[in-house]
């Protein structure tokens, strides 16, 4: 080893990078975090909610001091067409007491707080610097090149938590080119409302409690995607994420899509009169388990979005990021014992992830992206049928109930055919295995 400025270089101060840096700094490792934004969080957008568990393991009871918005007590799931929505969900007091299940957070504020904890733990944080490529010597990653003058840095190990675009993983050949059918664009607005308005409109007791609504269905016109609304303290985050390929093929402008969502009769009353505070966009890796790359090389590990760790079914990403960052750090600590940062030693990182829910969850749904790509109608026709059936059942129009059920059955048969239905059920069952 010729040069060494730090033990570990962490690229990116998002949840994955900071979780890694926090664990390393706490263990006395000389770690530097390099962030391209003005401050951590300034480039980050979240279409999801922040789950407590992985973060709580890292910083116990973090939610008592972190800038969180609301803890979530109710999660609703809507199937929506152009004029109706069919709602399911869970509201439970079990999520209304400490230590809570999950939170809505505003990332620009939350990440900044997290970075303060990381710096307090002893890591060095450098903002406003772009890491352009890994420095590779004899097939081994020995550092990174930044876009700053005199910008080369050397270390035993580089942890790339540089987000979905991850130029680092790509330049090392770990990651394949991402095709537009494996990635979604999420656009989002923060709409300002008073605390009372948020409480009233979402049916919650006080401004500590929060609600999430996740929306899919035929209103997306057959595009694969999902919309969401999350309550913040005095605002609502409303957004929509759609596979980029679908946007292209449907000649769809994402802002128009967001505007039509905002004006949907089911959505509008919840946000009406609010003032848009911010407009944001970010892409979300949707490739699932099959797109997860090899996450290590000699002197190198990849974490978070950069490793495509997003569970698009359950809208989880930041918790997978935190978990992966933590495990990357732990793997480094083990490797340090032996002073061996080779590919072989660091491969333990991916094994660890396979042992946790992170890759187990992703693996469970590993065939889903292809299934949805192949059978787009699963996202439109079944939800539409459900909406129509519910509408029929709840419409009192003098038609006897047995006749209604017969009619619904008839619809089911004519729309899908029993054989088609059986096939679809079988496929879903098989793909989810």
């Amino acid at each position: 080893m010729s040069k060494k400025d730090f033990d570990v270089i962490v690229v990116g101060a998002g949840p994955a990078g900071m979780a890694a840096a926090y664990v390393l700094a706490k263990a006395g490792v000389d770690v530097i975090v390099i962030e391209r934004g003005k401050f951590p969080g300034s480039k980050n957008v979240m279409g999801g909610i922040f789950y407590r568990k992985p973060m709580d393991d890292l910083i116990p009871e973090f939610y008592k001091e972190a800038p969180i918005e609301r803890h979530i007590v109710e999660q609703r799931m809507w199937l929506m067409d152009d004029v109706s929505h069919f709602s399911m969900g869970i509201k439970t007091q079990k999520h209304n007491s400490e230590p809570y299940n999950c939170f809505s957070v505003l990332r620009a504020q939350f990440d900044k707080w997290f970075s303060k904890k990381v710096v307090e733990a002893g890591a060095l944080l450098i903002n406003e610097t772009v890491v352009t490529e890994p420095i590779v010597e004899n097939g081994k990653v020995v550092g990174v090149r930044t876009d700053r003058p005199q910008g080369d840095l050397y270390a035993d190990c580089v942890i790339a938590a540089d987000g979905v675009q991850s130029f680092l993983a790509k330049s090392l050949g770990l990651r394949k080119k991402i095709t537009p059918n494996k990635v979604a664009l999420g656009v989002k607005e923060i709409i300002g409302l008073s605390e009372e308005q948020v409480n009233d409109r979402f049916g919650i007791k006080d401004s500590k409690e929060g609600v999430t609504i996740e929306i899919t269905g035929p209103f997306l016109k057959g595009m694969e995607g999902m919309a969401w609304m999350y309550t913040n303290k005095n605002s609502v985050s409303i957004g929509i994420g759609v596979i980029i390929d679908d946007l292209i093929n449907h000649n769809m402008n994402p802002n128009d899509l967001l505007e039509s969502l905002k004006n949907h009769p089911s959505v509008l009353p919840l946000i009406e009169g609010g003032e848009t505070r911010e407009y944001l966009a970010h892409v979300i890796p949707e490739g699932g388990y099959k797109s997860v790359p090899r996450m290590y090389a000699d002197g190198f590990m990849v974490a978070g979005d950069a490793a495509m760790l997003v569970d698009s079914v359950h809208r989880e990403g930041s918790n997978l990021a935190v978990e992966s960052g933590k495990l990357a750090a732990k793997t480094y600590l083990e490797a340090r014992e032996s002073g061996d940062f080779s590919e072989k030693t660091l491969s333990r990182y991916q094994e660890k992830l396979e042992e946790t829910y992170v890759l187990q969850d992703l693996r469970y749904y590993k065939n889903l992206p292809e299934l949805l790509e192949e059978k787009r109608y699963l996202l439109t026709e079944y939800p539409q049928f459900l909406i129509d059936a519910m509408t029929e059942i709840y419409t009192v129009d003098g038609v006897p109930k047995p006749e209604k059920f017969r009619k619904i059955k008839g619809e089911l048969k004519s729309r899908f055919g029993y054989i088609g239905l059986a096939k679809d059920l079988y496929t879903i069952w098989r793909k989810l295995r």
Partner: protein, 273 residues
């Protein structure tokens, strides 16, 4: 040579919005930044240091969070950073602020040695007063050169330098002795993309806090109570309404109409007799 730069942390005025209903500014989430003019002052000082040797000190008066501004100044190449922070400064007007900064600068001179060139931005984008810099210069009784767009012929031996400053009618070149006090325009320089070692050093170095205990600042000249000017009220200007479309059959006719409408304004400006 020793360069001392006075900086201010301000809300990014470009992101401040007006709430016409309440007549207030919406400042939620608006980031705090180094006053943009001050960044060019830091840049100028760092360039002079790199050319002639010496060091750059930076001082910022503000709440503890203003430390971020000082860290950023260091990442631009400043060597020493001082945060002037004390509750007694709350509500200071420009006279009281220039007093506190002057007193703090004297302490910095005690610790770091005499200053050759003092720097500040031409004004802050929140208050837009352009008074604090001249105030400090006056208290030090050093030559003041405002609206500087170029620095030339620095002679560290003779302790002289030449400055180009902006006037309404053009520019003027001024020669002065050091120490002197410059307030600078954005045109003075283009901000460099600082080398990584500057950023690392800034992240590793802590900022020294100055307050009424570790300086000779006297409370009787500080804060709202001891500021000669007070704010009676603050309000937002009325929202601009849609005006009048000038229509007519011919372009000439339209322009004639327009001219008649604006003639009184042109007269007040002395454009028409």
């Amino acid at each position: 040579m020793h360069f001392l730069v006075f900086i201010k942390q301000v809300p990014d005025a470009a992101q401040v919005r007006v709430d016409y209903e309440t007549g207030t500014l919406i400042r939620e989430g608006v980031p705090a930044i180094i006053n943009p003019f001050d960044k060019h002052a830091i840049e100028a000082a760092v360039r002079l240091k790199n050319q002639f040797g010496g060091k750059v000190s930076v001082v910022c008066m503000g709440p503890p969070m203003a430390e971020d501004a000082l860290k950023e100044a260091m990442s631009m190449g400043a060597d020493k950073a001082f945060l002037l922070s004390d509750r007694i400064f709350a509500g200071s007007d420009t006279l009281a602020t220039s007093y506190a900064l002057w007193a703090a600068a004297k302490q910095i001179i005690k610790e770091e040695g005499p200053v050759d060139v003092f720097f500040a931005g031409k004004q802050a984008i929140d208050g837009d007063t352009a008074q604090t810099g001249p105030g400090i210069a006056t208290r030090f009784n050093v030559p003041l050169i405002t609206y500087v767009v170029d620095i030339k012929n620095v002679d560290p031996e003779k302790k002289t330098l030449e400055l180009v400053r902006l006037l309404e009618s053009g520019q003027e070149v001024i020669q002065t002795t050091m120490p002197c006090f410059l307030t600078v325009e954005e045109e003075l320089n283009t901000l460099s993309y600082a080398p990584l070692p500057y950023l690392i050093r800034a992240a590793k170095t802590s900022v020294k806090v100055l307050n009424s205990k570790n300086t000779e600042i006297e409370a009787e000249y500080c804060g709202l109570k001891n500021s000669p000017t007070k704010v009676r009220k603050a309000f937002t200007p009325p929202k601009r309404e849609r005006g009048e479309m000038i229509e007519g059959d011919s372009v000439d006719g339209i322009i004639n109409q327009l001219y008649e409408k604006i003639e009184p304004v042109l007269k007040t400006m002395g454009k028409v007799q």
